[in-house]
Every structure is written in C-alpha cells, then in structure tokens.
Symmetry: C3
Subunit: 139 residues, 3 copies
C-alpha cells in the first residue's frame, strides 16, 4: 500500500468563483502510481469549499445563484462585529458546502461520471489563491 | 492493511428519489474482511449525492421538500441554455449536497447511529441507475 | 502504514449548538504517530453533522441563522407523524450539512487554515452527547 500527498493551488477571483481541478488531481494519481484506492482532498481555509459539478458555464452560474440564495451577501452578519471585513456570507457559504471530498480510484482513474468535475470554490469577498491538500492511498 | 474496492448500483425514480444503501455497504465490509478502518463512498455522476438520514418515510419527504426549497425545479436555470434537458435544479441540488461520505469501521461495522442510514439520492429529472464507488481500507 | 481509530465525545446543548473539536483531533494524530496521511471523522447519529468554520462567536451565530433559514424549526415536518418528537428540522438540517469530513495530515498536523476549525454540530432539539468516530491512516 502506498501513500502520496501533495498540495495544489488555484488563483480565484473574489467569490463566488470556482475552477475545475479534476485534471490536476488526475495527474497526481498518475504520479502516485496508485491503481486502486482512494483520493481525498480538502480546501485549506475557512472561506473555500470543494464539491463536484458538471463544469459548464450555465450550471456554474446556477450554483452561484443558489449559494447566494442560501447565504446572501447583502444581509447583516454578526461576523462583522469581530472583523469588519465584510465576508460573513463567505464563511457561512463555505461551512454549508463543506471542505472535503473522498473519491475512489479505479484502474488509475477517479470514479467520476463523464460530466462530473471536481471544483474548488472561493467564497471570500476578495481574490484568493486557494490551496487544496490531497492524499492518495492505495495499491 | 487491506484495501477493497467495489461498485454498487441502485435504480432510482426521477428526482428527488433516494434509497438506503447501508446494508449493501455493510455486506461489502464483511467481504473485505476489514475489522478496523475506513469506508468511503462516492456517487458517480453529477446529478446524484450521498448523505445519512433516519430512513423513515416522513423525514425522507421532509428532506425532499427542503432540497426543493433550496434549488426549486420551477425557476429558470442557465444550464438550460446549454442542454435544454430541464435538469438545472438537479445539478445544483447534487453539488450542494455533495458526492461523498467517509465513515469509520469499528469491529467490522460502520460507526453509525441506530437510526442513521446511508442514502444515495437521485436528483435527475429522469429515472437513473445510480452507481456508487466504494473503498474500504483497514485491518 | 499505520491505522489508528478512536471516538471522541462532546456534550452539546439543544440544537443548533456546536463546538470546536480541532485540538482533540490533533491530540489523536499525535497519539497515532502518523506524520503523513489522512484523518477522517464522522458523527454517529442522524441529528449531528461535521464541517469546518472560523470558530468565532459572530460567525457561529451566522451559521446557525443560515441553517435555520434552510430548514426552520417552526414549519410542519412529516417526521412528526412517525415520532411526535418535534425534531423533523434536526434530521433535515443534519442530512443537508453531511456527517463526515476528510482532512489530509502533513508533518503531523491537519492541513487546515489558521482560522479554520473543525466543529461538531448538534441539530437535535434536546441536549446530546455527540460521539464522533475518527480514523487516522498514514506513515
């Protein structure tokens, strides 16, 4: 059994912004030499999140709209009382989406659908280079 | 340390539909021979999701109602501009719920509550056989 | 490769209540001796959840408010028809947030941001001692 760790980075605009990291994760599986096992990834930082989606401009906008409905930018947040940095919505959005995913690796590839991509989301109200910690375990 | 991989399938109706997969996951832990370790599972496809819930008809309907409130079927989605298949809400719902879970295995059993079941959810607007990739690692 | 399992407990008030478990998880990584690998954790029970957030009183209240907007306590739930225990919203909230996280371990520490803590949330409408199953795998 092998274990392989890496970090990947993605420069994202002010939130909500997101980018497809599937091919970078896949490249690391190749480097790890793991054929059968598990990939986990978690975003480092409390205003980012990870999920999967069909990476298509329309549905990306639809997801952004839905996240804004759940935790809108324009309403009062008590987080302001501590930091006055205007990103209370960013923290709440990220906590609701969740920081991590776990995807099986089969025959050297992640077990994903043809139209299913892994995305990192920046919810912060300023541009951020988001770091993602990746662990690949298997044989 | 052992590693065991499998895929399970569940035929589900047009979304939102869900089914309990706890006993099938548990049967695969038995096959794996793992007594202490970790089970991860991820749905394959961008209009499905996984979570845990008390698998009881009332609360299943309550969860469906909540998901419909978060990303309703009847509002405009930009995903329509690309594909015209009427399932923009399905993609958004699945991305918000998330594709994967990770559950500890203790004494050959998943560490779940008595009333806590693992469910696969089909959010797509047509019946789908949902595939779930499962990895079990441990001793 | 090592594997280490443990359970941690946290007494929480009636929902929505949450507490930071980062330092207890970190103490178990130290006990495990794992320097590079993976920590997973899942809440045991269908009315609890796990996520990450900046553990600061303002944003904690903001997250509680957002969860209440998504699945409010005061609306009718069909779960009542089965159990009459008034916690339909608790089950729905927990299923939406999700039961588990997976965080990489690098140099003996979880790969988290400086302001990113792991929290266990009790959504139940009564005080609960929430149990969390933890697995640490690595070298």
């Amino acid at each position: 059994m092998k274990i392989y760790s890496c970090k990947i980075e993605k420069s994202l605009g002010a939130g909500i912004d997101m980018e497809d990291i599937t091919s970078e994760l896949q490249a690391n599986i190749l480097r790890s030499g793991v054929q059968h096992g598990l990939l986990t990834a978690n975003v480092i930082g409390s205003t980012g999140s990870l999920t999967t989606i069909e990476y298509e401009p329309g549905v990306i906008q639809d997801l952004k709209d839905a996240i804004q409905r759940i935790a809108p930018e324009g309403i009062p947040y008590k987080h302001e009382l501590a930091w006055h940095d205007g990103n209370g919505h960013s923290h709440v959005q990220a906590a609701l989406l969740g920081p991590s995913i776990a995807i099986s690796v089969c025959n050297g590839k992640m077990a994903l659908g043809r139209w299913q991509q892994i995305v990192v989301i920046n919810h912060d109200n300023r541009a951020r280079t988001r770091k993602i910690a990746v662990t690949i375990i298997g044989e």
